[in-house]
Symmetry: C2
Subunit: 676 residues, 2 copies
């Protein structure tokens, strides 16, 4: 029996779900157009992206070159130093913004491609097509494609793999190219990506005369495997394998880069033994097969582990799979917020030590949760176990969705679990924490990442391998696949938010397994089908047999309000509890409960939750009223007084889904509640 | 009846107290010699101070000038940029280190002076005398004295009052000069200080041609008043009054400095309305008489408020006194740790917003607690109310003493209330928090500040005004004063740490009040005397009459273990309790209670404290065993699991005085305990 699975194609799934469709439509109708404005620097009050500007500048350079015109832009003046001053016109031939700005274009093209597969749109396709052409026309003759270096005549290209994101841009270009190819059948971007990958392979590798490098910010790994899967070209599989196996090897290529920089400043070189300490941020402290603890920049880590899991699957590489399994455990068992967010510290946007999960200073970057969804889906592809899907859903629903406001046009980069607006406004220690979603970011990695994930959502709901089809996320939809060589369609009916899933099967004799997930949050699931009661395997109910029209599956997956505690080693949550309702992590907001949320306690052993529906930002969501106590906010005689039992009164504490917080004005918010 | 009082002179009090004498002797025998080594850059592994070096360089310059030799050191190369590299000899004519480094010499001289008054030491006096001479010989002919600017030929002198500590150095010089004069009768340093003050007055003031400036880092205010009190010269009173009244006035002199700097960089000037926001750090956001909230750099704030209180007392200035009173309330009612530490945030070493008192990231600089002791003593001098003495004692015993290890040779700059050594070692967010006391600091403000405070301790225990003598701190000692024109000696016997104070009076008919404090921590004080039962006024028992040999006072001030809570608005302490035993704030340490202190709870409503004596670092201290619970440290099934009542068992929680923490090896520490 095959265990590995691949996601259903986006054209194979039509989503009709009230909840998920709403989020996807937000992306399609609000976010993608908004992002387009951002790429073109047309959002008032937001930092310009310079993304389209840079591509145009590079394309102009290539055109002049082809025309044999001279190009005199020899000296690079830096990126931010050269920003045009107020009132000054930007120089049309100068690169502006972050070194990785090209990736914003690629993420947008990728999201657009997914969207087009679900929802054709000729005008959008035309715009995207122009952009794809623009990208292609910016490429250097040898395949090199990074406008930052192209606009400085390649001076220093590949010299700073550690921090200058050329290979990151290769990765995002490739993701976009594959999606664009799938969406439109056009090969222009795909060929551009292939040529850039080949150009990289000309310069980077273990062969004589090449630099034994690899990406500073990972993503090329998983992207190259998509390119391999899309084109069948083994060289991309090989290139990915090289990147992964070379990472963290000695002599350390990043240390060499550092020491070249130091030599320029006449500083002594750092010794090889410093490499591990210095490069944990990049997950380059040791060879990836030896890595066991999730460390460093959380987004990079998630992308790396995703690539590792892909390669482990494609190569059937047990050693790599074991490293993935251990890194999964470290990530989700020791270092993940209850919201599925990862990255406990803003210092390096990174994982902190085990069990260090502060709520108010949390980083929990939206992109890192997106990355955890990627990683989880890839672990699922290797081994369909519901624990992976549980984490995937946790991160997706609670943190990825939190990253975007209900208007689809403002965003969180950082997702704290406890917010005091006054502190955010005044406290420099919380500079990274915003209490209202922002219009855009200079480093706008998160919003486009949310867009590309949400617009490809069906690929996270369903995977299959011809022998079995898996339903990982419940999502009202019509999903087609092949089972035993014959077509089969799952008509998933809406109702999961009410605790009921009904799936009608449409087929004419497809033979194989339909496997539906038993979510970890459901204490009391039940099911039946026209094919009997199935068997439970790794958290999925497996229904087997030959499928005909009229077959159906029914699951009862009732939501209930469950009080959770954190591992006792999570000091910040000691004595506190969080409430989850179905997959929704709940939070308290000032809007409902008044100021000073820390003066509320909930009653964990008899929550007695009353569930109401409330429309927040245009969508109906469950809102809980749980039993608790409200402590008296009395005048005190002094700052420190003899301990006494605080007067408190019974109250109902109102809780809304965390992902929807901050959509009803400014105010305090808190996930971990004091307990009675 | 007079209410204002002044401290007894250091020669009038002979300390014999087992506890206090031990601390004072640590300073005399360990710290002062150690500091001397530090000033001379002879502490292996510690950052050099360059203090003596800089004075020698300046003195050499003056000698050359007097000899008519050329001096070519025109160009200043910066301070840290010019530090000699490894193996390189320092340039004998170059200033090194922080701009305020001169002050280290002054603090040392001040501490030595106090020490000499209590404990004559010919050799130490000889060394100090040489240093006083060195300081005098470094002075410019016009009285200017700041080696940083002297060694750059005064280029830029008084141009950056905001951040370059010339007036801070004037303040510390003056404090040292007065102490040196009192200790030795020598006027050399006093004259040097007077000449520098006069030089400052030539350049700074409201008169035509002068800069309307004032100190960026306050201290000159209170120092000038000491100079006035020592010399009787009204001009120093006037100079202080000017500094205080000019502070925060518009047009803002610091803004002018900023805008001159900006003009050099061709940046637009900032408008006047930005001044308040920019200069709160310096307490220069508004005129001092209008200030009501303690803000900005905590040490600067404490020094400013001390100067204000001195001036209010000397001028009988009710408006200034009211500002002091409000700033006192803001400091101690809204922004003070239970340990008497102030400064909740390391950002700007500053006060945070009201009730923001985080325990693990606390700043609570030792110097700020020293400053709070200064401020409290001055409030006491204005109004002898025991609340001031309570805070003074709280800061002194719990934070100032914590700043110094029991070896007298290692120090805390920052005094957190919760420490996890692993976090301190690895977490950059806690860079400022050390879990072991350090040998010395590049910016070595704290250790010398502790030294000068502890060696002048009797001045905080006793104040008098000829009509009354006040005992603010209990300290076994013989203290002489004049009462009603006749001498009176208080022989305070040891025993306060056992809850008993016996004072024998020696006098031949002195007439007036002897006022002894009823400490806030004592719930059940009792007293008697040969003069009856006295009357209670503002927290002092006042015994009046004519005093003869054989008169005595007896107080029973029993220590008890009291469980305290913080104002409910202090979010970080919600649901937690701290234990105080007499004046000692207690803490738990890993050494006694094992790892994971957050897995302990104490039982606030029945602490049932058992008191033991334990010798820590050479001194016998009270150690408590209080009733509590120990939560089971069980293996957990997952990071987040359904809430359940944690298994716990009865335990005794061991608590030691906070000030003595970290004297028995590395480990966790915690002041605020979870509660049952």
């Amino acid at each position: 029996m095959k265990t590995y699975t691949t996601p259903l194609g986006l054209r194979q799934v039509r989503v009709t779900d009230a909840f998920w469709k709403h989020e996807m439509e937000l992306v399609r109708t609000r976010m993608i157009p908004y992002q387009w404005e951002a790429l073109n620097d047309r959002i008032p009050g937001a930092a310009p992206s310079w993304c389209v500007h840079n591509f145009r500048a590079a394309a102009r350079l290539q055109a002049r070159r082809r025309a044999g015109e001279p190009w005199t832009y020899e000296v690079w003046k830096g990126t931010f130093e050269t920003l045009p001053r107020d009132g000054e016109d930007p120089d049309q031939d100068t690169f502006y913004g972050f070194v990785f700005q090209d990736s914003d274009m690629y993420k947008w093209l990728e999201a657009v491609s997914y969207s087009l597969m679900q929802h054709p749109d000729a005008e959008l396709e035309k715009t995207a097509s122009e952009m794809a052409e623009l990208v292609c026309s910016a490429q250097d003759p040898d395949g090199y494609l990074d406008t930052f270096y192209i606009l400085k005549n390649r001076k220093g290209a590949f010299s700073n793999l550690k921090d200058h994101h050329e290979l990151y841009c290769l990765g995002h270009l490739t993701e976009a190219a594959v999606a664009w190819h799938q969406a439109t059948g056009k090969t222009n971007l795909l060929e551009t990506a292939e040529r850039f990958a080949d150009c990289v392979a000309e310069h980077i590798g273990l062969e004589e005369g090449k630099k034994p490098g690899y990406p500073g910010h990972e993503i090329a790994e998983m992207a190259l495997l998509r390119l391999y899967e899309e084109t069948g070209e083994e060289r991309f599989l090989k290139q990915c394998r090289y990147f992964l196996d070379q990472r963290g090897q000695k002599p350390h290529v990043f240390l060499k880069e550092v020491n070249l920089e130091r030599a320029e400043k006449e500083e002594k070189p750092l010794p090889e033994e410093d490499a591990a300490k210095l490069f944990a941020y990049y997950q380059a402290h040791e060879p990836v097969r030896q890595q066991r603890e999730a460390v460093g920049h959380a987004v990079r880590a998630m992308y790396l582990y995703s690539g590792m899991a892909d390669l482990a699957r494609l190569d059937g590489d047990e050693e790599m799979a074991r490293a993935c399994e251990e890194l999964w455990k470290s990530t989700t068992r020791d270092k993940m917020y209850i919201t599925g967010g990862v990255g406990g510290t803003h210092v390096g946007e990174a994982f902190s030590r085990r069990f260090d999960l502060p709520n108010d200073t949390a980083y929990s970057e939206t992109c890192a949760a997106v990355g955890l969804v990627f990683f989880a889906r890839r672990m699922l592809q290797m081994h369909p176990r519901s624990e992976y899907a549980d984490v995937m859903e946790r991160a997706l629903i609670n943190t990825v969705l939190a990253g975007m406001a209900m208007d689809g046009q403002s965003f969180f980069y950082v997702n704290p679990l406890e917010v005091d607006p006054e502190a955010c406004r005044t406290d420099k220690r919380l500079n990274h924490v915003k209490h209202v979603r922002q219009k855009w970011f200079g480093c706008a990695c998160c919003p486009p990442n949310v867009a590309r994930l949400l617009s490809s959502l069906p690929q996270y709901a369903f995977t299959a391998n011809g022998e079995a089809v898996y339903v990982h996320l419940y999502m009202a939809s019509d999903a087609e696949t092949m089972l035993g060589g014959k077509p089969l369609c799952l008509h998933v009916r809406d109702g999961w938010m009410q605790g009921r899933v009904h799936i009608d099967i449409e087929s004419d004799g497809a033979q194989g397994d339909i496997c539906v997930r038993l979510p970890g949050w459901c204490a009391d699931p039940s099911w039946k089908s026209t094919k009997g009661s199935g068997t439970v395997r790794d958290g999925y109910v497996v229904f087997s047999g030959e499928w005909k029209a009229g077959d159906s599956l029914d699951l009862e997956l009732p939501f209930s309000a469950v009080c959770l505690e954190a591992d006792w080693r999570v000091r910040e949550d000691a004595g506190k509890a969080a409430v989850q309702y179905g997959p929704f992590v709940m939070c308290t907001e000032e809007k409902d409960n008044g100021h000073y949320l820390h003066m509320l306690k909930i009653t964990p052993d008899s929550l007695d939750a009353r569930v109401e529906k409330q429309t927040i930002g245009g969508i109906e969501l469950p809102v809980l009223q749980v039993r608790g106590k409200k402590l008296a906010q009395e005048e005190t005689a002094a700052l420190y007084t003899p301990w006494k039992k605080q007067p408190e009164e019974d109250t109902r504490v109102t809780m809304v889904p965390y992902f929807a917080w901050g959509n009803r004005g400014e105010g305090e918010m808190r996930v971990w509640q004091r307990t009675e």
